[in-house]
């Protein structure tokens, strides 16, 4: 099929849930109201790190209207999103690890009463030494924030060496060593997390929740509540924005379900904005050191990357996040030899996790700025340099990521063209500048979060004599348009209208498993499953209708709500009639499709993070204006080209690109999750500096730049009709493009985000004093790295496994590191 032959795919369309969203009828978790419903509030720790000596809920229980107070002893089984980090409890057991860590759940007849009773739960704490910065956690082994892993307060250490680095750096003409810092930030989804739990008519428990990952919540509930998963139903309500914020299992979800089971009444809980900052799971703060060897002509000969990852108080996705700070560094440009060392430490702050780009924006930020420095030194145009070193299609990288299609060169050419780069770069008056940066991202993680051989996504179709189709899938709508992708693809294959199809999604009782809306996996994985299911249904119908029309099957066309003869379009039946005929002949018509990603060539331990069926590519040019007196920075315009493989609904694709640019701009200029320590002689406090949507700055309409979006379509054979991801990748180049533009404007390097006027002015002051005009980290602390796993890269004839890796480890390598 050619693009022009598509009936649905590629045409801008009202998304299937568009009407619900503009009429206010979309049901978010907090919109659910039930008879006899009661309200829950979580009492949270006011201490950053402390032992719990005692909890006495008696005064709260005596308060009129209070029905239940749960504490740690009511829920003793730990859980965690990753099998390797089962370190969370619904309510703290014996200690608290950050201000905001929940210690009790209070259920009352209304939310205000529950809130008032919070002050009546008497908790005694014994404060412990607190860790605010990763450097402190590295320096002090005691007291340990967790005692289940590694040493001291180090959560995870990674040391992966792909090839002979001495040889790699030996081949270089120039070696660059730079340090960068990427501040942590929050997703700030507009909807605050909420859940409602209720006991069903038949005694089972149902949880409605604003979650991106109902399947993982389902598993965790089964574990924490000690109830068979088959007796728990999780329904992900439409998410009012996710961006990764709602992809973990949260205390309030487990507590609400528990409370509903205890009380036999529906229980609602809704986070305040402050609590959302405590739920966090946002972008990890990452300190980086990047050493890169290049030839005079620009080719990279070797790269050594070290990352220090500030994890906060719990594991969450952190092990995966830490691997991700290294895994995709080879997928954008050709890096023949590569050494990655990553270290995640615990600190007494809310746990970090996945945010749009999960672990990848930070090292991408570093490398893209370093490439700008390299281009400067080599006297090359940074766009030309990038074009020269773009990774090659259908290759395997030094760390054994298999790359399929790459539209990056086309992205660079297009963005250079539309931004008039050649006329602007180094040619604008001082104070104005342009910068370029690129990126790549996963279209879904190649491995599930827990090891299993089952599909990552399943789609089930029900067709009946009405001519309507119902598509069932566990995929979760978080605003990105997954319902629309599901319906659009099924409509395309069956030749009917999207309006003929009803989507039933994200309900563990009704829908086949889809792992969730994370890692940009849904379009590719659910999409392939949807196509398979629809083709399966189409084949069943085709068999019947070919006979009915007395033509060969291969002449049948499904289009315009009809099934007909390609050579004689008049000769055919309506789709409804086709289903009726098939139902008469075959019985009830149903079809399923599933998707499992292809195996990865990475056979080393840790190689489970990074593989993807396809990688998306982006290139961005940012323009900035700097006021030299104040350092004030403005970003009037960004040009963005994104290789999406195939644009399924161009309206939504553009929305994802612009939304990524927006969020990237926020991270570049203002968003930061920072903490405040009070003077230690007076207080042990370590608090979120400003857990409010007013003081956590995110761009308003006035702060958003103009965006020129170019969609590059280079269909990938692994994608549904060639589609790759678009929700995360386009965020990645924004921050470095802004920093590179600052350099073009005023010649100073800001090697960390956010790029604030204060930092720009400091760098300008240094420049005025004749020093290096730079703001950024100076050093990377000592980390007790283990010996590296040495994995010869393809150019050294490797097979994807580590040298001297014991057999047991080899087997383990397949048991994924998620």
């Amino acid at each position: 099929m050619k693009g022009s032959e598509f009936q649905v795919v590629g045409h801008p369309r009202r998304r299937v849930d568009g009407r619900a969203k503009v009429t206010g009828k979309t049901v978010y978790a907090d919109d659910i109201v039930m008879p006899r419903m009661v309200w829950m509030k979580l009492l949270r720790s006011p201490h950053p790190h402390a032992k719990i000596l005692s909890i006495d809920p008696s005064r709260a229980l005596a308060h009129p209207g209070v029905m239940l107070v749960l504490t740690g002893k009511d829920l003793t089984i730990p859980y965690g999103i990753l099998p390797v980090s089962q370190d969370e409890h619904p309510l703290c057991q014996d200690k608290v690890r950050y201000v905001g860590d929940p210690v009790a759940a209070i259920v009352a007849r209304d939310e205000l009463t529950a809130f008032e009773a919070m002050d009546l739960v008497d908790v005694k704490y014994e404060p412990l030494r607190t860790f605010a910065e990763p450097e402190e956690s590295l320096q002090h082994d005691e007291p340990r924030i967790h005692d289940y892993c590694g040493q001291g307060n180090i959560h995870k250490l990674i040391n992966l060496q792909f090839g002979d680095m001495d040889k790699g750096f030996g081949e270089a003409d120039e070696i660059f060593e730079d340090r960068f810092f990427y501040q942590g930030n929050n997703h700030l989804a507009l909807e605050q997390h909420a859940s409602v739990a209720a006991v069903d008519l038949d005694g089972k428990v149902t949880l409605w929740s604003s979650t991106q990952t109902p399947h993982y919540v389902h598993r965790a509930l089964a574990k924490a509540l000690e109830i068979p998963a088959a007796h728990i139903r999780v329904i992900a309500t439409s998410n009012g924005g996710g961006f990764g914020a709602k992809s973990d299992i949260f205390h309030h979800e487990v507590c609400a379900a528990k409370a509903a089971l205890v009380l036999g009444r529906p229980v609602k809980v809704c986070m305040t904005r402050e609590e959302v900052f405590y739920c966090h799971r946002g972008r990890h703060p990452v300190l980086m050191e990047i050493k890169t060897g290049v030839k005079k002509t620009g080719e990279i000969t070797a790269m050594h990357l070290k990352t220090l990852v500030d994890g906060g108080g719990y594991g969450s996705y952190g092990v995966a996040s830490t691997f991700y700070t290294g895994a995709l560094q080879t997928v954008t440009y050709d890096v023949p030899r590569y050494h990655f060392q990553g270290c995640r430490v615990f600190t007494n702050k809310p746990p970090c996790g996945p945010k749009r780009g999960h672990g990848t924006p930070q090292p991408r930020f570093g490398q893209e700025i370093q490439l700008d420095k390299i281009a400067e030194r080599l006297e090359m145009d940074p766009a030309d340099l990038r074009l020269k070193i773009v990774a090659k299609p259908n290759t395997v990288t030094a760390n054994y990521m298999r790359i399929g299609t790459i539209g990056l060169a086309e992205c660079i050419r297009r963005v250079v063209d539309v931004s008039d780069w050649k006329k602007r770069f180094r040619k604008l008056p001082r104070g104005r500048g342009v910068g370029i940066a690129c990126a790549s991202y996963l279209s879904g993680a190649g491995l599930p979060i827990y090891w299993n051989k089952m599909p990552h996504s399943g789609v089930q179709l029900k067709l009946d004599r009405s001519g309507g189709v119902t598509a069932f899938c566990g995929c979760t709508e978080i605003g990105q348009g997954s319902d629309d992708v599901l319906v659009g693809l099924v409509a395309e294959v069956l030749g009917i209208e999207p309006f003929d199809i009803r989507a039933v999604t994200a309900d563990t009782d009704l829908t086949p498993v889809d792992l969730g809306s994370y890692s940009s996996r849904v379009t590719l994985m659910m999409g392939n499953a949807a196509i398979q299911a629809a083709e399966n249904a189409r084949d069943q119908i085709a068999g019947v209708i070919a006979k009915h029309l007395e033509i060969p099957r291969n002449r049948l066309v499904f289009a315009d709500r009809r099934v007909f003869d390609a050579e004689n379009p008049e000769h055919g039946v309506s789709f409804q009639e086709a289903v009726c005929l098939s139902e008469a002949k075959l019985g009830t018509i149903g079809a399923v499709g599933s998707y499992t990603p292809p195996p990865s060539p990475a056979r080393y331990k840790g190689g489970g993070v990074g593989p993807s069926p396809a990688y998306s590519y982006s290139a961005a040019v940012a323009e900035v204006e700097i006021d030299e007196e104040t350092g004030w920075i403005s970003v009037p315009k960004i040009w963005m080209a994104h290789d999406v493989g195939r644009s399924l609904n161009p309206t939504l694709v553009r929305g994802q690109v612009e939304g990524s640019v927006y969020m990237g701009l926020g991270e570049a200029l203002m968003e930061e999750q920072t903490f405040r320590r009070l003077p230690s002689r007076l207080s042990n406090a370590l608090v979120h500096k400003f857990p409010s949507i007013l003081e956590y700055k995110s761009p308003t309409t006035h702060d958003m730049c103009d965006v020129v979006t170019e969609i590059i379509e280079d269909p990938d054979p692994n994608g549904p009709f060639g589609a790759k991801e678009v929700g995360q990748g386009p965020l990645l180049p924004i921050m470095p493009a802004v920093c590179n533009a600052v350099f073009d404007a005023v010649g100073v390097r800001i090697d960390e985000v956010p790029v604030t006027p204060e930092k720009v002015l400091k760098a300008l002051d240094l420049q005025r004093r004749g020093k290096e005009g730079r703001y950024g980290p100076e050093k990377f602390p000592d980390v007790p790295w283990p010996n590296p796993s040495v994995i010869p890269p393809p150019i050294e004839g490797g097979d994807g496994s580590a040298i001297d890796q014991p057999d047991s480890a080899k087997k383990k390598a397949k048991v994924n590191q998620p």
């Binding site: 009202r14 998304r15 849930d17 568009g18 009407r19 619900a20 969203k21 503009v22 009429t23 206010g24 009828k25 978010y28 907090d30 919109d31 109201v33 308060h63 009129p64 209304d110 205000l112 809130f115 008032e116 009773a117 919070m118 002050d119 009546l120 997703h187 700030l188 989804a189 507009l190 909807e191 605050q192 439409s238 998410n239 009012g240 924005g241 996710g242 961006f243 305040t272 904005r273 978080i478 605003g479 348009g481 309206t651 939504l652 553009r654 929305g655 612009e658 939304g659 990524s660 640019v661 927006y662 969020m663 409010s692 949507i693 308003t700 309409t701 006035h702 958003m704 103009d706 965006v707």
Partner: protein
């Protein structure tokens, strides 16, 4: 200490007109208009993202003016006119703003959409054909984390065109 319990809630009873329908409503007297709409009048279309006037998700029209319902006392709404997202449709027909937002990507997750729609509706009523700058300024009180605002601006501009077409048709 401030969170200690205080006297049991007294209820308030007011009459207000929401989306053209006059109703009498009984509610706990500490509630804001946001809570009254969502919890006591079964109108959950109006959303909340902070309850402190910092995000714009709860915007409604009160006596014709866009305000944040999270900072309006329920007891101060007696006899007043409220318009929420639920009142934008005429019968089963979408308002041109709703159509344009649905068609042009003005709503992604949809959570900021109700507040933006009512605010934009007021703009279109006051200024027939607003400039991009006016749209930008009027919507500067509504945070959206999904779209980057550009498709929202375009949706408002398209709604202006569609309003004109509807007028011409009728």
């Amino acid at each position: 200490m401030t969170a200690t319990p205080q006297p049991q809630p007294s209820n308030a009873r007011i009459t207000l007109t929401v989306n053209g329908e006059e109703s009498e409503v009984l509610f706990a007297s500490y509630k804001t208009l946001l809570e009254v709409l969502r919890e006591d009048m079964n109108l959950p279309g109006t959303k909340h993202g902070c309850e402190l006037g910092e995000c714009g998700a709860c915007a409604v029209l009160l006596d014709g003016q866009p305000v944040l319902s999270c900072l309006v006392l329920g007891v101060e709404c007696d006899g007043r006119q409220v318009e929420t997202v639920e009142g934008l449709m005429e019968g089963n027909e979408l308002h041109p703003l709703q159509e344009a937002f649905a068609d042009l990507g003005g709503a992604q997750c949809g959570y900021c959409t109700p507040g933006i729609l009512v605010t934009a509706k007021h703009l279109l009523e006051e200024v027939g054909t607003p400039s991009r700058e006016q749209i930008r300024e009027v919507l500067a009180g509504n945070l959206c984390r999904c779209t980057g605002y550009l498709q929202i601006f375009e949706s408002v501009e398209e709604a202006v065109v569609r309003c004109g077409e509807r007028k011409a048709d009728s």
